[in-house]
């Protein structure tokens, strides 16, 4: 059984007064195995963000089903949804989404506090993660006091601390400079090697070249996919770039 199964997912947005309809996703099917590091690429407007929102159960598909470890996301009641999301999913966002009223430490604790954990337990969990991400010194600082790369590390720590089944990352390098982006991707690779499953939506070929598998989405469908196999990052980069060229110049499958 796959960790994540996406079957024939469809999403149609209707404008507020029911006038015109926009099809964001027409028919998306793929699955992700435990321990994979998958990147989803596509142009602006291809439906990447819609797909991620559906996977994050922040949005509901118009048709099709999403299964996490065999459980249908659509069958989870609203009341349990927040807890389900907290326990099974970790999020990393483009704009970090750290609360500026909390120190980095408190930001990282947030999901655990919401789950009702004790301080001692949270602190025990935080230490190794902070060390791995190199933010031990920064824990007492506030988001406005640290750099973008450091903020994103804190956000990653927040996603990791609940030991989720799957980390969903939405353009995690989008707001970072190239140096910080490289560092973050290295970090992603590292935590993936530790066994963490990651699904990342990105624009950046460089970021995607770190993944084991890249899915290309065009016009609301999975258009193409590339497996890493034994390729190095550079070779992977070439291959992705070539695929993108085909994608944008409008070749057939």
């Amino acid at each position: 059984m796959s960790l994540l199964d996406v079957k024939n997912v469809k999403k149609i947005y209707t404008t507020r007064f029911g006038g015109s309809q926009v099809q964001a996703l027409s028919d998306v099917t793929f699955s992700i195995e435990s321990g994979e590091f998958v990147a989803i690429m596509g142009e602006s407007g291809s439906g990447k963000t819609t797909l991620l929102n559906i996977l994050a159960s922040l949005d509901k598909p118009t048709g099709g089903k999403v299964y996490l470890k065999g459980r249908d996301l659509g069958s989870i009641r609203d009341r349990e949804m927040a807890a389900f999301r907290r326990q099974n999913l970790g999020f990393v966002f483009q704009d970090f989404n750290l609360l500026d009223t909390f120190s980095l430490e408190d930001n990282i604790y947030l999901p655990l506090v919401l789950a009702g954990k004790k301080y001692e337990e949270m602190n025990r969990k935080l230490e190794p993660i902070a060390q791995k991400l190199g933010i031990t010194e920064l824990l007492k600082k506030f988001p406005y006091e640290v750099s973008g790369g450091q903020k994103q590390r804190a956000a990653v720590a927040r996603a990791l601390i609940t030991k989720p089944q799957l980390i969903l990352a939405d353009e995690p390098t989008g707001a970072l400079d190239s140096r910080a982006s490289d560092d973050l991707m290295e970090l992603f690779t590292q935590i993936n090697q530790d066994g963490q499953t990651i699904l990342m939506v990105t624009h950046s070929v460089k970021a995607a070249s770190n993944a084991n598998r890249v899915l290309f989405i065009k016009d609301g469908e999975v258009f193409h996919q590339i497996y890493r196999g034994n390729l190095t990052n550079e070779e992977m980069y070439q291959k992705i770039a070539a695929s993108l060229t085909v994608l944008t110049t409008g070749g057939d499958r």
Partner: protein
């Protein structure tokens, strides 16, 4: 014409933030103008007790002025924060700081002119309207004509020009010292966590404690007048300090307690509150002060109005009250004759009559030395607690009045104390000693009119001549003689009684020029005018403060809504359920909004004792009535507050979600 036009467009474009700001300006200008105008009203001088009224109004005007300045500053700082990005953009597009300053000056000129014109205009209209309502409401003639008061206009204009100028300078300073890039990010820049301000917290605790202490320890009503104002100022300072610094200090302590802080229900609330208090402390303190003022004003004026009959019977224990300066037997006989003739003519009986001669002195009581200082030059203002009214009554009058058969040797006296302890064998008047034969605690009839304001000491002396001698030596000019006092009731009721009393007064005034006659009926109307006027003012000022409170609450909810929106969206993404988000919002908003009300109620509770003393000066000693009025006012106000809260919080939820 470029800059005025640009400024005008800016104001229009930023209507969402500018309209509440200008509205605030208009409202506070109107309030201040009406308040000063009433306090300057010449018609008011004809009212009995207008001095106290004017004093109260002057305090109210001062507090309104201070409050307006603080509130406009508060609103303005929000405004500037919202517009920082815009200012940055103007600089990026090629305006230099001089141009920007010019634009801001024009904006301030426009808002000032609009606020002043509308505020003063509305002040004149509303002032007139309010007085028309007053005349209708009280259904009798009130000697108040509300005219336009140029002096009040000038004063209001000066105050607000100063306030607007200072806010402009503050804004200019903010823009001048910032780099364009900082301005561009100004609105979205993360706010620093506030630091604990220990000194300010300490000042707050001390001033509030001192204010409460003064309010609790004030014993004599005369003291209360002066000290109440001091206590008010101290409590205001304390309130501002504790809301701004104390609240944050407390929250930080809570945050340090890890067991408490890292709980689902406390985590987001405590950290959220720290920022909320940083941004809103001044606004909340404003609401708190205003609520207190509203509660005190309305409960005091309402209990004065409701307790009018009590006040009347205290001020006039009997239907008629005659005093005659210089108590020659001839005058007393004439007086007696006039009263009996008039009563007989109208066919009414004279009842409960008590008459006596007495000498009244103002004195400073030195308890240790059992001494009363009567010298005029003794400094009374510093000795309000030891201030006494000394009444000396001849033995014969005392025995007649109380139906007793006391006897005294020469230089022997009876001492009657009220609220004091006295156990000396000798009592000294200035330096002259008198042997004390007996000390008594109460008397039946020689109740002094002012007994609730100033403590009295009554001496009974064997000889009226000695009293006259003392009066000659220590009395003030114009009151250096023994006074003959005569109280009595008349049987019957209604117009017949009123007309007898009127004719007694008329004849006595004509036949004994040294006499002074008062009767209850004549004063009833005056009292209704006075206390009706008080009630009106209380409700009027209360209503104005409530309006301002509503505005602040509304304004705060809206502005907070925008601030909080982002925060709650993040929390939902990270795994907080909608319900948890709502609960967190609710607990914070509830606490923030009902804190000022709670503190206001505590303020009122502490002020209660002092206010009862102040009411005693106005002859209201019915503490039970005042308590009931206060409780009723608090309840009504709380309901009103709750309704406002419900309406505005709906707006808030709409923005957040």
């Amino acid at each position: 014409m470029f800059y005025p036009k640009l400024a005008w467009t800016n104001i229009k474009k930023n209507g969402k933030t500018y309209i509440p700001y200008i509205l605030t300006g208009i409202l506070t200008i109107m309030m201040l103008y009406v308040m000063i105008a009433i306090s300057l009203n010449t018609g008011l001088d004809q009212m009995e007790g207008s001095n106290v009224l004017k004093l109260i109004l002057r305090w109210a005007a001062t507090i309104t002025g201070i409050f307006s300045a603080i509130f406009l500053f508060y609103t303005n700082s929000f405004l500037v924060k919202q517009r920082k990005k815009e200012f940055g953009l103007y600089q990026v597009l090629g305006m230099d700081k001089g141009n920007l300053a010019k634009m801001m000056v024009w904006e301030t000129v426009l808002t000032t002119v609009i606020s002043l014109l509308m505020g003063l205009g509305l002040g004149m209209l509303l002032g007139k309207l309010m007085f028309l309502i007053l005349l209708k409401m009280l259904r009798f003639e009130v000697p108040l004509k509300f005219a336009v008061e140029p002096q009040a206009m000038l004063a209001t204009m000066i105050v607000f020009l100063a306030v607007f100028t200072v806010t402009l300078l503050f804004n200019l300073l903010q823009v001048q010292t910032a780099k364009p890039v900082e301005l561009l990010h100004g609105g979205s820049q993360g706010e620093k966590e506030p630091k604990t301000k220990r000194l300010l917290t300490l000042i707050g605790v001390l001033t509030l404690g001192a204010g409460y202490y003064i309010a609790q320890t004030t014993v004599s009503p005369l003291e209360a007048i002066g000290k109440f104002f001091m206590a008010v100022i101290l409590v205001i300072i304390g309130t501002y300090c504790l809301f701004t610094a104390g609240s944050i200090a407390l929250l930080k302590i809570l945050k340090k307690n890890k067991k408490f802080y890292y709980k689902t229900s406390h985590f987001t609330s405590v950290s959220g509150l720290i920022y909320r208090m940083k941004q809103n402390a001044v606004g909340l303190a404003n609401i708190c002060i205003m609520s207190t003022v509203v509660l005190v004003l309305i409960s005091v004026t309402f209990s004065l109005y409701a307790g009018m009959e009590d006040i009347l019977s205290l001020r006039f224990p009997s239907d008629v009250h005659v005093t005659i300066q210089g108590s020659s037997q001839e005058k007393i006989d004439t007086e007696n004759q006039v009263i009996e003739e008039e009563a007989e003519k109208a066919g009414v009986e004279i009842e409960n009559r008590s008459s006596y001669r007495s000498g009244t002195f103002t004195a400073i009581y030195k308890e240790k030395e059992a001494k009363l200082l009567l010298e005029e030059d003794s400094d009374i203002s510093n000795e309000t607690a030891n201030f006494r009214t000394l009444v000396i009554i001849p033995l014969s009058d005392y025995n007649r009045l109380e139906g007793k058969k006391e006897s005294l040797d020469k230089d022997q006296v009876l001492v009657i104390v009220q609220g004091d302890e006295f156990d000396s064998d000798t009592i000294y008047l200035q330096d002259e000693g008198f042997a004390v034969k007996k000390v008594m605690k109460d008397t039946r009839k020689t109740k002094d009119e002012l007994s609730y304001v100033v403590k009295s000491i009554i001496l009974v002396m064997p000889d009226a001549d000695k009293i006259a001698e003392l009066k000659k030596t220590y009395g003030y000019e114009g009151s250096d003689q023994i006074i003959y006092t005569d109280y009595f009731d008349l049987s019957g009721s209604g117009d017949a009684k009123e007309s007898v009393m009127a004719s007694i007064q008329k004849r006595l005034t004509a036949e004994i020029p040294e006499s002074f006659t008062e009767y209850k009926g004549a004063f009833r109307q005056d009292f209704y005018a006075l206390y009706g006027g008080f009630l009106f003012l209380g409700v009027f000022v209360g209503a104005l403060f409530i309006m301002a409170t509503v505005l602040i609450i509304y304004y705060k909810q809206i502005s907070e809504g925008y601030d909080d929106r982002n925060r709650y969206q993040i929390m939902q993404k990270v795994g907080m359920s909608k319900k948890e988000v709502q609960r967190s919002i609710k607990s914070q908003v509830l606490l923030v909004f009902f804190l000022p009300l709670l503190v206001a109620i505590v303020h009122v509770a502490f002020a209660f004792k002092t206010i009862t003393k102040l009411l005693a000066i106005m002859n209201l000693v019915n503490i039970h009535l005042f308590l009931m009025c206060t409780i009723a006012t608090v309840l009504i106000f709380a309901v009103f507050y709750g309704v406002v809260f419900l309406i505005t919080s709906r707006e808030y939820y709409r923005i957040v979600q």
